[in-house]
């Protein structure tokens, strides 16, 4: 397998401009002769489709929702980073780059991460020009706030709905191109396979989710922007329909899957309340600016939190990390919540929660001030839990939030399959082993508006792309494969529901491939997933029929893929015998419970090549060594 990163040579700050100067262009009158498929309409896919269409390519865009506007990027709350230095607090592109690469525990490519920081400023200009209503100061200029992991105010925001407003900006840009006839928008369509002709991605197979029809789509290049795979855990902050199918089917056709075990666990979510629960809801990280995290010192203390006196409370983050206190990064906060719960100090009906207490902040600043800052979050919390956080502490617990792993891509965001580009959360690049807050939106839009539109031109200009008929044998084979998979699901005709399988997989993943992992646990997880997968194919029940709208059939296909991906996530976690970022191996931590990296042996991207499934998942490991020319690797410390 060829893992050539194609990183341009030369100084870090000149790599992208040098590359833009070097890559080939497609003449304007030729662009209209080329078709591009974009799968997914979130920040990455929406912005890519709009920009490619505006350049002149014929774009066909696909989403599983009823409208492109509903992609899950819409749910991002906090903000988007950029190195504008508007607050004049000393921010630079270098600082944004450095915080991002350090936050990722030095497991991402320097060149990609630096380019992200460079492009960040253009993203803000673009969004503002589109009419995205960012927060403003009284003087009419843009407002900024701070976020975890940074010492400057570089986060731009639109109240707590930044993702929504940026997504609507990209969606509207797309709809403009639909109006211009340059985007063919296909909604309620699920990608089931990629079609490879002469070694190049030349199309996709979809299922029309309303009619059930299997359809064939041809193009000169395919952009996959289908999001992350956090729903492998069943419960997560992802939308219910978020899934790995498009990416996983590409993996099965030869696209390398990189760093699958890097999963970000967000520390401040509303805890699980019952076995019917379908998803977890995030409480913004910003709450930890004023909320104090604690548990009762005594195990099993079931008194009402307001009745527990000060000296019987354990403010574990403040005690263990005096310098950062409650504002330690997400991985550290999540891990410590798990530790105190494992020790029996957890609170609430399940014992899997800790308190986030605003009592002192309310005493200090008054209820009104706290309400001004967090009112909508407090209301959301009360609506879901029926508890009033002004009067008693919130109960929070970590939850799966974002996946840093994904399909391997080079500097052009092209996978190892020529013509298959991967953008946003679906690729592995930029965030390393941990993602800082307010950087997911930045990456999605950077990839879609400013990278893919140019690198795809370079590919199209440099390749022989003869016309391919949709009757080509590769299309026949892929379409039959997709149909065969669906038929097989119905043939099982067992008596256990898809949801039951998904929930069981999620529990294995959460217990053994979650906040912290161990060799023993991962080996058990691999075995359990294999057994569950076998049971699935012998006992799953898919109701209804294929030629109709059938949500359970959609889920069955996705859970089948999660049952394979889950095993790869555990395998990747097992082989990476070090702790880094969100990947904590119990065997590798300091006496104080801090993650211990092993840069000597593990400073590489783990890219897996699919070999088959035969009881167990067969995968071959390839390594892309990470070279750090410009930054010095240091242990992260928040003491």
């Amino acid at each position: 397998m060829n893992l050539d990163s194609k990183v341009p040579s030369g100084p870090l700050e000149d790599k992208w401009s040098k590359h833009l100067n070097d890559i080939q262009l497609v003449a304007p009158n030729n662009k209209r002769k080329h078709d591009v498929i974009v799968v997914g309409t979130g920040l990455a896919g929406g912005s890519a489709a709009a920009s490619l269409a505006e350049l002149g390519y014929n774009v066909t865009s696909f989403c599983i929702q009823d409208s492109a506007r509903r992609a899950h990027s819409i749910a991002a709350q906090g903000g988007i980073n950029a190195a504008k230095n508007y607050p004049n607090d000393g921010d630079t592109i270098w600082r944004l780059f450095y915080d991002t690469i350090k936050g990722g525990d030095y497991r991402s490519r320097e060149s990609n991460t630096y380019r992200l920081a460079q492009i960040s400023n253009e993203i803000i200009d673009q969004a503002v020009a589109q009419g995205v209503p960012f927060a403003r100061e009284y003087g009419g200029l843009l407002a900024n706030r701070s976020f975890g992991g940074a010492q400057v105010s570089r986060t731009f925001y639109a109240r707590g709905q930044t993702g929504q407003q940026l997504l609507l900006g990209a969606y509207q840009a797309m709809m403009r191109q639909v109006h211009n006839g340059k985007i063919d928008m296909q909604t309620r369509q699920e990608m089931l396979d990629v079609v490879i002709v002469d070694g190049k991605a030349r199309g996709i197979i979809t299922r029309d989710l309303v009619s059930g029809e299997i359809q064939r789509w041809m193009a000169d290049a395919v952009v996959l922007a289908s999001g992350g795979y956090g729903n492998a855990f069943y419960l997560s902050t992802n939308a219910i329909n978020s899934n790995v199918t498009a990416a996983w089917r590409c993996h099965k056709r030869g696209a390398a899957f990189a760093n699958p075990c890097y999963v970000q666990i967000h520390p401040t979510c509303i805890p699980v309340s019952g076995d019917y629960q379908s998803k977890l809801t995030l409480m913004s990280e910003s709450l930890r600016n004023d909320g104090r995290v604690w548990v009762p010192k005594e195990k099993g203390d079931d008194r009402h939190p307001n009745d527990i006196p000060e000296d019987e409370r354990y403010y574990y983050l403040e005690e263990k990390y005096p310098a950062f206190g409650n504002l330690v990064p997400r991985d550290v906060a999540s891990r410590n919540a798990k530790i105190v719960c494992d020790e029996g100090m957890g609170v609430g009906p399940t014992g899997r929660a800790v308190y986030l207490d605003f009592r002192d902040a309310i005493e200090r600043e008054g209820k009104q001030a706290i309400s001004d800052k967090y009112g909508n979050l407090f209301e959301m919390y009360e609506n879901i839990t029926d508890n009033n956080p002004y009067e008693e502490p919130m109960r929070i617990f970590p939850a799966v939030h974002y996946t840093m792993g994904g399909l391997w891509v080079d500097y052009n965001l092209m996978s190892n399959i020529p013509g298959l580009f991967v953008a946003g959360e679906a690729n592995f690049s930029d965030h390393g082993a941990n993602r800082l807050g307010a950087s997911a939106l930045m990456q999605g839009l950077s990839d879609g508006y400013f990278i893919i539109p140019y690198t795809i031109g370079n590919y199209i200009a440099g390749e022989e792309l003869p016309d391919v008929s949709k009757d080509h044998e590769a299309f026949d084979e892929a379409a039959e494969n997709a149909q065969g998979h669906i038929d097989k699901l119905f043939e099982v005709d067992g008596d256990k529901s898809v949801v039951e399988f998904h929930r069981e997989l999620g529990q294995i993943m959460w217990d053994k491939v979650g906040i912290s992992r161990s060799e023993e646990g991962l080996k058990e997880a691999i075995k359990q997933i294999q057994e569950l997968r076998e049971e699935f194919w012998n006992n799953v029940r898919v109701p209804g029929e294929a030629a109709n709208y059938n949500k359970y059939l959609e889920f069955a296909g996705r859970v089948a893929d999660f049952l394979e991906l889950g095993e790869l996530m555990a395998k990747d976690a097992l082989h990476r015998d070090e702790s880094c970022g969100c990947h904590l191996r119990a065997e590798h931590q300091s006496e104080e419970g801090e993650a211990l990296r092993n840069d000597e042996e593990y400073s590489y991207v783990a890219a897996w090549e699919f070999q088959g499934v035969n009881g167990e998942l067969q995968e071959e490991l390839h390594k892309e060594d990470l070279e750090f020319e410009f930054v010095e690797l240091k242990q992260r410390s928040y003491k």
Partner: protein, 251 residues
């Protein structure tokens, strides 16, 4: 853990757009007060699957009140009884043991039924397509701070921009008007300096597309504002009309 209770459901079942539909009775006795309304339907569907039936189809995705997918008419109210709340954020603690709940799709000529409770809201996309954007090319934008925007203007634009496109406004309106949806997008873009150059063209195109899609006229019932999960003000409609008149007169 709270005790479970029983609800009686009357749910609209319809096989496809051209099939007849009817309300079908179900009884669910595993309801927990902490469940969301959609989680209650998930539990019902699991029971239906176990019994060999075909589950009820309904739209949902984020389940945190922001994607706009969910769209249930609950006892005749779009998104149910709780103000400023999507179906996905409505919790079963709002109901009691023995309650009967009628669940129907958002009904409107512009929203044909796809299956059961799922409707086709692509008309909203076509309204945006007609002009609900600022025509700016990628990468050619001036520095973001080169166009100051009065804070109150930006805040008001944001209030209108929070529309999630769920369609409750249409479902609640006796005329099935999409004026709140269209008006909200116009009120967002038309008041910003970035949106100003295309204001007239945008207003005319979007209003005309809305009519073409088969949505009715606004008669100021204000039912749309009452059910909007994001609390979008009906003033958007007055503003849309003023702008439309101006554009039509200047011609």
């Amino acid at each position: 853990m709270a005790d479970t209770f029983t609800v009686h459901l009357k749910i609209w079942r319809q096989d496809g757009p051209n099939e007849p539909g009817e309300l079908v009775d179900y009884t669910l006795d595993k309801v927990n007060e902490h469940m969301s309304f959609l989680e209650m339907l998930d539990v019902l569907n699991e029971e239906i699957v176990k019994e060999g039936g075909v589950p009820v189809e309904f739209d949902y995705d984020c389940r945190e009140g922001i994607c706009g997918s969910c769209n249930l008419m609950i006892n005749g109210q779009a998104h149910g009884p709780k103000a400023m709340t999507c179906s996905c954020q409505l919790h079963m603690r709002n109901y009691s043991d023995g309650d009967t709940i009628v669940i129907e799709p958002f009904r409107a000529k512009g929203f044909p039924v796809v299956k059961d409770l799922v409707v086709d809201r692509s008309a909203f996309d076509r309204i945006i397509e007609a002009g609900g954007y600022v025509s700016v090319k990628t990468g050619s934008a001036p520095d973001a701070n080169s166009i100051p925007v009065d804070k109150s203007v930006a805040d008001t634009a944001f209030d209108y921009a929070t529309c999630i496109g769920c369609g409750a406004c249409v479902a609640a309106c006796p005329n099935s008007s999409a004026s709140l949806f269209t008006g909200a997008k116009l009120a967002h873009l038309n008041r910003l300096p970035q949106g100003e150059p295309e204001r007239e063209e945008r207003t005319v195109a979007m209003v005309e597309q809305m009519e073409e899609e088969g949505f009715g006229d606004c008669s100021n019932y204000a039912e749309c504002e009452a059910v909007c999960p994001k609390g979008i003000s009906i003033s958007a409609i007055a503003e849309m009309r003023r702008n439309y008149m101006k554009a039509a007169l200047s011609g």
